[in-house]
């Protein structure tokens, strides 16, 4: 009887430890890209809800990720051939996000175990899906590294460790900056609570990034009525050329 009770407690304990869940809010759930769009800042804030007092052993950590729409990518490498640099090897990467930002309360290596990272695809290398690339080129991993390096330099991939504020192991907030060069699509926001490298709870939200107003109108037209759009571009060009020439003739006889 006592033994059974002990087993019950043993089973219940980890469950109790996981009785921490996230309550989250976003400062905005949609971003409109208009002509004067210069980027946007999303505030991710929230709290940890507990049914029991917080376990004392390991501190709670928070990871916030924001992921833009993903596309396949070809990475090419230049090599010197007869004195000039030309594209030689290429690797096709199945899917890589156009934007990816991670903000954390601590160093990623300390607060997230590798297995959990693989399972939840949190860090940049695990988010990029590059399956079966080793057959495409020698030393295929360097192509993935190059992709990350280039995108990090462009500000499309960002890692901000210690950028999440966590108060009293309960309240957290993080500012995620969305750059001006934003691709339209659904941006997935994920928040992970970790303890000792394990993910305790996770929650998903979506930010809808859409072109609006004139941007929307022109983009849609260029896709759906491309001939009309092309003619409009030409008409604009001819009109501008003629207009400038006329105006100049009038002001400078």
């Amino acid at each position: 009887m006592i033994r059974a009770f002990a087993i019950l407690i043993a089973l219940a304990l980890p469950a109790a430890a996981q009785e921490e869940s996230i309550v989250v809010g976003l400062s905005q759930s949609s971003v409109s890209i208009t002509t004067d769009f210069v980027g946007s800042e999303i505030l991710v804030y929230g709290a940890v809800r507990r049914d029991a007092p917080a376990p004392a052993e390991d501190p709670l950590e928070v990871i916030v990720t924001v992921e833009g729409p993903a596309t396949p990518i070809i990475v090419r490498k230049k090599e010197r051939r007869v004195g000039i640099w030309i594209n030689r090897d290429k690797v096709r990467i199945g899917s890589a996000p156009t934007f990816y930002a991670i903000a954390t309360t601590g160093a990623l290596g300390d607060i997230l175990s590798e297995t959990e990272d693989l399972r939840h695809r949190i860090t940049i290398p695990s988010v990029i899906r590059a399956i079966g690339i080793s057959s495409e080129a020698e030393d295929a991993p360097q192509f993935v590294e190059a992709l990350m390096r280039i995108r990090q330099a462009e500000g499309r991939y960002r890692v901000n460790e210690h950028a999440v504020d966590l108060d009293e192991q309960t309240l957290f907030r993080a500012d995620v900056e969305l750059p001006a060069d934003l691709t339209e699509g659904d941006y997935r926001v994920r928040i992970f609570l970790t303890r000792d490298g394990r993910v305790v709870d996770t929650i998903d939200r979506t930010i809808f990034v859409r072109k609006a107003g004139l941007e929307r109108f022109l983009y849609t037209m260029s896709r759906e009525q491309s001939a009309l759009y092309g003619l409009l571009s030409l008409a604009l060009a001819v009109l501008a050329g003629w207009g400038a020439s006329t105006i100049f003739r009038l002001i400078r006889p």
Binding site: T34, K78, I86, E215, S222, A237, G241
Partner: protein, 306 residues
């Protein structure tokens, strides 16, 4: 003043683009080149995706050429008939060029081919023009030196289908201009340029057209080539960014007017030396990029979502 571009999906400084358009427009008005060979690399440089840069550059070239042609027409410096003949060849050439371009895109060697074309054609033509104009300038300084005969009869004059080009004062076969048109059309489809920098010297040296009608006629021809390119890009890849084009055009048309006015004041030889130097400069710039070890040997090509 930042501005988000709907097709390029990047945010750029509007004043910077206006300025770029103005500079390129100035050159095109002065030299009678559409300016595509300048605008496309400049757009790459400020971070516009290459496909958008090529297509939008073509659209800007339409505007500056229209503006330039109107200025040249006032001076009766456009040979419309010659322009049409060049154009007929140009369409054939550009159709072939678009096909070759698609092949190269599959192989991932578009950049290389474009760069090599820039180096080879710009370099060769620039050097030829420079040499010839310096010689012409020297000759002009020494009066009494023998002047090259205006009409040297060669095999070109024995070809059939002769036509009178009154504005140019030529009576030649339509075959050479059509072939030149086709060659330029081919290159312009591949290099994403109007082809004026090739057309201008070809008209002077190969067809023997008088310099005063060359600029206007070249611009006239470029309008159609670049309009065709713009439309083709808009319909096949949707890469013409109308907002970017508008900024470039506003800067460009104004620049072209100033350029045309300055151009009139300069002597033809001086004009050609300047154009030759400009062409050589671009060629050298592109050439060094091919030879120097790149900072980043890797490049990304984003594929459409599947």
């Amino acid at each position: 003043m930042q501005m988000y571009l709907p097709i390029a999906e990047v945010s750029i400084n509007a004043l910077l683009v206006l300025g770029l358009g103005g500079i390129v427009g100035f050159m095109s008005g002065m030299f009678g080149v559409g300016g595509g060979f300048l605008i496309t690399p400049l757009l790459f440089f400020i971070g516009i995706p290459p496909a958008v840069a090529v297509a939008t550059g073509a659209n800007q070239v339409v505007a500056s050429s229209v503006s330039g042609v109107l200025a040249q027409m006032k001076r009766k410096a456009v040979d419309f008939r010659m322009g049409m003949v060049l154009q007929a060849g140009g369409l054939i050439g550009s159709a072939i060029g678009i096909w070759v371009f698609a092949r190269l895109a599959v192989l991932g060697q578009v950049d290389l081919f474009v760069q090599l074309s820039y180096v080879l054609f710009l370099g060769a033509i620039g050097a030829m023009m420079l040499q010839e104009s310096i010689r012409a300038l020297r000759r002009a300084k020494k009066p009494g030196a023998p002047i090259k005969r205006a009409h040297v009869h060669t095999w070109v004059h024995r070809l059939p289908f002769k036509m009178k080009f009154r504005a140019s004062g030529l009576y030649i076969s339509v075959l050479p201009p059509m072939m030149i048109g086709a060659g330029v059309g081919f290159l312009s489809a591949i290099m994403g340029v109007g082809g004026g920098f090739i057309m201008v010297p070809a008209m002077i040296y190969l067809l023997g057209m008088p310099t005063k009608v060359v600029v206007g006629t070249s611009l006239f021809q470029i309008i159609f080539v670049s309009a065709f390119t713009t439309l083709a890009h808009a319909m096949t890849s949707g890469t013409v960014d109308i907002m970017l084009a508008l900024l470039l055009i506003l800067g460009g048309v104004v620049g072209a007017q100033f350029g045309a006015r300055i151009g009139v004041r300069l002597r033809a030889e001086q004009l050609r030396i300047l154009l030759a130097l400009l062409v050589i400069a671009v060629s050298v710039k592109v050439g060094t990029e091919l030879v120097l070890t790149p900072k980043e040997p890797f490049s990304l090509q984003v594929m459409g979502a599947e």
